[in-house]
Amino acid sequence: MLKHIFRSFFTLIFAALVGSVVVFVLLRQLGGDVVTAMLGKEAAPIDVSYLREELGLNQPLIVQYLNWLGDIARGDLGTSYAMKLDVFTEMMRRLGPTAMLTIGGLIVSVPLSLILGTYSAINAKKIRSGFVDVFTTVGIAVPTFWVGLLFALLFGVRLGWLPTGGYIPFTEDPLQSIRSVILPVAALSLGVTSVFTRYVRTAMLDVMNEDFMRSAMARGRTRRGAAIIHGVRNASIPLVTVAALQFGQLIAGAVVVENVFVLPGIGRLIVISTLGREVVVVQSLAMVLMLIILILNFLVDIAYGFLDPRIRDKESVDV
């Protein structure tokens, strides 16, 4: 088990490093830099290279990369060039909306997908599972931003039930805070739920064909009872992997939804920083998100052991 953890850990670090190089190189391929972004069209015809010098943008790329990496290794995410904001502080400030979106998305989509997917699998050959199929097909097909716009227009403008955008921090007013994320979470969850429902359905259908499901029914479980008591847990093993991947999708979806609903989250920070050529901010955020997703996958690896007794025993024998 320990050996397994070490191996996963080094893979994680290596993947993060490769990822950081890719992000660094890609960002440098964009035209213009933060000086361009600050001066805009108004750059005076004087030599403005002193600004680049001041900001350290004239250093060789490898030096810039290593400086940044060194800071990261010390736990310093750096500061933005233009505003001189500490990236970590800014990230924490923006964690609220993104966390509420992604966690809210998980809270909504995971149980809903489990219910819909299981229902659809149990009734696989009946017409009513077709309703679930229609829902998931629509949910996958419609773009998240469009759903967001539709929700904002319907529930925000027309019905006036919920705000059309903006974010109130949870610590300021919990009720209003939750109200402000209901529509975004709904818009975000639709696609993710649809995709995940399909995975649940497939996993459940596989499990339903297992001999132990027949055994359970032979002991007196109904088809549905067997599916819920024996099926869900067994189906959960492949689903945990997918859920970890879906979390990445949730973060990607959050970027879109944050823009539609004007939520000042991390997704918007990445977009704004990329447009503003705040390369350090983007690099550090990408690194943090990459680490979160990689760590999540790493935890999923370990979680298998807890979920599946066979793997747990196998690994304890390994060491």
């Binding site: 972004a37 108004e42 015809p45 400030r93 716009l149 539609v260």
Partner: protein, 530 residues
């Protein structure tokens, strides 16, 4: 008729998503009458009672753009000046929408007979928002740093300054190397910014704007809000509102939805996909739409590096291919045709002069004559705001005379780096607020002044040098009139339209000027009407 068709066409594209949403919303209501009724209900609900709202001393205003930082000295974007100029920052003098120059931080001034020496009497009792008193030392400091700013809005007008001195605490003397008829006017804009001494060394430089204006820059949350609060020690008449709550909402659909839902009071600018919804607000009695004269012209220019464009016949051919009337569709006709690069378009030296009216046949003939019948032009454009739609219109018009246009969409900063300040390309299109005097070859403005060596046309340069140096105002105007015509004749830069920017607000908001000076969204006189 053709113009309308194009408006429809480009409109369909830009508003595709919205069109579906709107269609569904209408379908959901059953009828559009029903829809407006319901909106009315929700608005009333939201604002509870109009009388209560009328008493509110907070104004909620959406802003479409956010600056990279609040460092006024470096940041060139309008986004910085929109919420802060006049509201937070003040200049030595004030340029009024009618073009007159009135006292601001200088109570009075005198110009020497040769037009070289300006003596300003600095207002006393003026405090900066940090509580310190403003005096001539602050003004001298400000003028000196402004002259060195990498931001041409601040530094370019100071090009002819020889010295800035303060004989006493309430007097500032500025001496020029040569007369400049526009110098004083420019002191009413970015070049006249006054900040406390040593503000450039403050750690707060990038985080806030410091000034003497009627509102204090009191709180800023990136990507969320900018809060201005009324400055109780303000030297002048205090504004009505105690708090201005600016919200950064770059998605126009979201901003307009919020306005409809009663969440905001004013949407400060409608620039892109929201344009086609403006009309629905003009017919809604709960809202008021006014058109801000943006002091911006949309123009296209040709790269000075392209061999083909060195032949004036090719440039003329391109100029003749442009149908400006049709291009107004981009702005849903909230713009005026402008053949001359006169900013603001209300300047007295403006005229209807249009050397190259729309004439596709002549255009084709000129191309044939010049031997460029198979001309190809590389056209990088910015993928936000009105630019994609303008690109579409220009591409269509140039294609109609047999020119092959290869357009490529870029994000703003890539575009600036690859087009405005250099790079290899054929033509560009932009909305800009720089006046003609900044287009000279010596220290000239992008894109013609850069990359070095820029474009130097003797005829234009001679006129340019003279026009600003006239001390006599009428002579100056006459010279300027000739200058802008000459510039148009050259056909390197073809002005297309003077753009008006719709501002949409609740019907009872009043006092927001419709002419914007230095891009300011001036809220000094804003209040509730009725």
């Amino acid at each position: 008729m053709k113009a309308i068709q194009i408006a429809r066409k480009s409109g369909r594209r830009r508003g595709f998503a919205f069109a579906i949403v709107a269609a569904l919303a209408v379908a959901a209501c059953g009828s559009s009458d029903d829809a407006s009724e319901t909106v009315e209900d929700s608005t009333t609900e939201e604002t509870t009672a109009p009388s209560e709202e009328a008493k509110s001393t907070t104004l909620i205003v959406t802003l479409a753009q956010e600056p990279a930082s609040w460092d006024y000295y470096t940041v060139g974007a309008n986004a910085l000046r929109v919420p802060t100029f006049y509201n937070v920052s003040e200049s030595i003098v004030e340029l009024r929408p009618d073009g007159t120059i009135v006292p601001m931080l200088a109570e009075s001034w005198e110009m020497s007979a040769d037009g070289l020496v300006y003596t300003f009497k600095i207002r006393s009792g003026v405090k900066f928002h940090d509580g310190t008193d403003m005096d001539s030392a602050d003004v001298v400091y400000s003028m000196k740093i402004n002259a060195k700013s990498p931001n041409s809005k601040l530094s370019a007008p100071h090009a002819y300054v020889a010295s800035v001195t303060a004989p006493d605490a309430s007097t500032v003397v500025i001496t020029l190397k040569q007369p400049s008829s526009t110098y004083l006017k420019n002191l009413g804009m970015s070049a006249g910014y006054v900040v406390p001494e040593n503000w450039l060394d403050s750690p707060d430089l990038t985080l806030k704007v410091m000034g003497t204006g009627p509102f204090v820059f009191s709180d800023y949350k990136a990507d969320t809000t900018l809060t201005l609060t009324r400055f109780e020690d303000y030297w002048g008449a205090k504004p009505y509102f105690e708090v201005i709550d600016f919200r950064f909402i770059d998605d126009e659909t979201a901003a307009l939805n919020g306005l409809l839902a009663g969440e905001y009071d004013v949407v400060s600018k409608v620039l892109a996909e929201g344009i086609e919804r403006v009309e629905s607000f003009t017919t809604d009695s709960k809202f008021k739409v006014q058109f801000e004269s943006a002091n911006e012209n949309s123009f296209m220019w040709l790269s000075v590096k392209e061999k083909a464009f060195k032949d004036i016949r090719v440039r003329q051919a391109i100029a003749h291919a442009i149908n400006r009337e049709e291009a107004l569709a981009v702005y849903d006709n909230y713009a005026d045709v402008a053949c001359l690069l006169v900013i603001p378009d209300a300047e007295p030296y403006n005229s209807d002069y249009c050397p190259y009216p729309y004439d596709p046949e002549k255009s084709k003939a000129l191309l044939k004559e010049a031997g460029y019948e198979n001309l190809e032009i590389d056209f990088p454009f910015v993928t936000v705001a009105s630019h994609p739609f303008t690109m579409e219109v220009l591409t269509q018009q140039l294609t109609a005379v047999g020119i092959k246009v290869n357009s490529r969409g870029l994000d703003l900063n890539t575009w600036i780096a690859e087009t405005w300040t250099g790079g290899v390309y054929g033509m560009g299109e932009v909305r800009d607020s720089a006046d003609i005097l900044q287009w000279g070859c010596k220290g000239g403005r992008n894109p013609l002044g850069n990359p070095k060596p820029g474009l130097c046309i003797k005829e234009f340069e001679d006129q340019l040098a003279k026009a600003d140096a006239f001390i006599n105002y009428d002579e100056h105007l006459k010279a300027m009139n000739t200058l802008v015509k000459t510039f148009a004749d050259l056909a390197w830069v073809n002005s297309i339209a003077a753009v008006k920017v719709p501002q949409i607000m609740k019907a009872n908001v009043t006092g927001i000027p419709t002419v914007s000076i230095n891009n300011a969204f001036d809220l000094r006189t804003a209040t509730w009407g009725n």
